[in-house]
Amino acid sequence: MDLYYIQGILMLAGINLMSVLGLSLLTGFTGMFSFGHAGFMAIGGYTSAMMTVNYGWPFIPALLMGALTAALMSALIGKLTLNLKGDYFCIATLGFGEAIRLVLDNVQYFGGARGWPGIPNYTNFTNVLIINIIAIIILANIIRSRQGRNMIAVREEELASQIVGINVFKYKLISLMISAAYAGIAGGLMAHYMTFLQPKMFSLVKSTELTIIVIFGGLGSISGSVLGALVLTSLPEILRSFSNWRLVIYGLSVIVIMISRPEGLMGGYELTPSSMKKLFTRMRSKKGNLPKSMEGGDTL
């Protein structure tokens, strides 16, 4: 295993992470499930590729354009579907994701189902890393802001949020738009990493994979999403030596972890320097107390 290979996997994980971060805001912090985020990735990917290939834009503005288009599209979809409750919203997003894919399959301007080769290779390890770090910082700040707290309130108790005066629809829409923008950037990164786009890359399977990562990492935890994206993207690669059986083992390990930790890897907790410090002191004090509590055992 050479460095180039590992870098490649980490970049894939980073691209996935970008879209997972957005989905984490929507699912983990606002409480809405989406099975159409691959659709937003596709919009971001195709838009940014169009900008760089056809209009000669530099990479970063093209990415932002992709994010903007995805966010605007999500605003349109959100206006129509966000009043749907729970499962119905989920199904609407599923339909949306598939619709985007089928539309792209038939738009010859983008190469249709044959795909679109010849996109410049702009994505590299450094810019994926930097973009992800910026994305995490922005997301953490959103969640700690007033807006973020409102989203969490909506997740916890929608009716009560309305009663205290939170405009539930507005915050759901904001959350959806931000998450779509994140997915759009992820799509742009992917387009300029693969140098090739095909609607098939953004199928329902991709959306499902993203949602699985969010749940696997733990709803309502950014560090969980990071961990989930790293683990679940690299797992199929680590298991490559099992050849045909690797996807079976991948599926099994997801099932096993979800059974043993239904709340996800992080389960709503964050991995920050201060929380790690707390954990270590607790572990140390536990060790220190162990003999004492064992001595005291018979007095119980």
Binding site: N150, A153, E156, E157, L159, A160, Q162, I163, V164, G165, I166, N167, V168
Partner: protein
């Protein structure tokens, strides 16, 4: 101050409120009593802006109330929902502070927070506790405290005594009287007609979506048919 005129609400094909009219004056405690399914909660939800209604008009200080909960709260009407609905994973303090969501006057919010703690010393004791671990009565107090924090002029209380131990029921009603003394107008929806009538100024009896009777609380409490149907007195 709050006026409901000829309100009709439908749930699909079901006619839940059939031309309900009522009005509430400043400083009053008005109670709506009625059995299960009479439409009491529907009425409150329509006032709060949760329900679309086809016919009728709800006005507050001569202004039509929007069908949009967050706007209604802004106008000074806050609801304490049935079944409490506290944010179970947040602390007591955070829950209360969420009630002040629409306000920006920091000093006044602080003052009101103190008032709420004065009214509910129990909540002060449990300030940092997670709301989901409170008892039913404490959660009810929390929901009421949260409702007060938006500094409403009218509070709509939906079944505050629901599922509480008898001893706590009395406490909750005492608190309602205290809230009313804080210059708040109260619309109380209750199944416990006996207690509700004991503290209310005026009462409406709602039966199958219609106002069957209205009058001062004492009149209603003394009415023989009401005594038999709602207060369990054999005549």
């Amino acid at each position: 101050m709050l006026k409901v005129e000829d309100l009709n609400v439908f749930y699909g094909g079901i006619h839940a409120l059939k031309g309900v009219s009522l009005d509430i004056n400043k400083g009053e405690i008005v109670t709506i009593i009625g059995s299960n399914g009479a439409g009491k909660s529907t009425l409150l939800n329509a006032i709060s802006g949760f329900l679309k209604y086809k016919q009728g008009i709800i006005t507050y200080k001569d202004e039509k109330l929007p069908i949009n909960p967050n706007k209604v709260v802004k106008m000074g009407i806050s609801q304490v929902p049935e079944g409490r609905l506290v944010f179970a994973n947040l602390t007591v303090e955070d829950n209360i502070m969420l009630g002040a969501f629409l306000r920006n006057d920091k000093n006044k919010i602080k003052e009101d927070l103190e008032k709420v703690y004065e009214l509910f010393p129990r909540l002060k004791e449990r300030e940092k506790q997670i709301a989901g671990t409170l008892s039913g009565g404490e959660q009810q107090m929390l929901a009421m405290g949260r409702g007060l924090m938006s500094d409403p002029e009218i509070m709509l209380l939906d079944e505050p005594s629901l599922g509480l131990a008898p001893l706590l029921v009395q406490t909750v009603f005492d608190i309602i009287v205290n809230i009313s003394k804080m210059d708040k107008t109260i619309l109380l929806v209750e199944q416990n007609a006996y207690k509700a009538l004991a503290i209310a100024d005026r009462a409406y009896v709602l039966e199958q979506g219609k106002i069957k009777m209205e009058g001062s609380a004492k009149e209603i409490a003394d009415n023989p048919s009401i005594r038999e149907a709602y207060l369990g007195v054999k005549i």
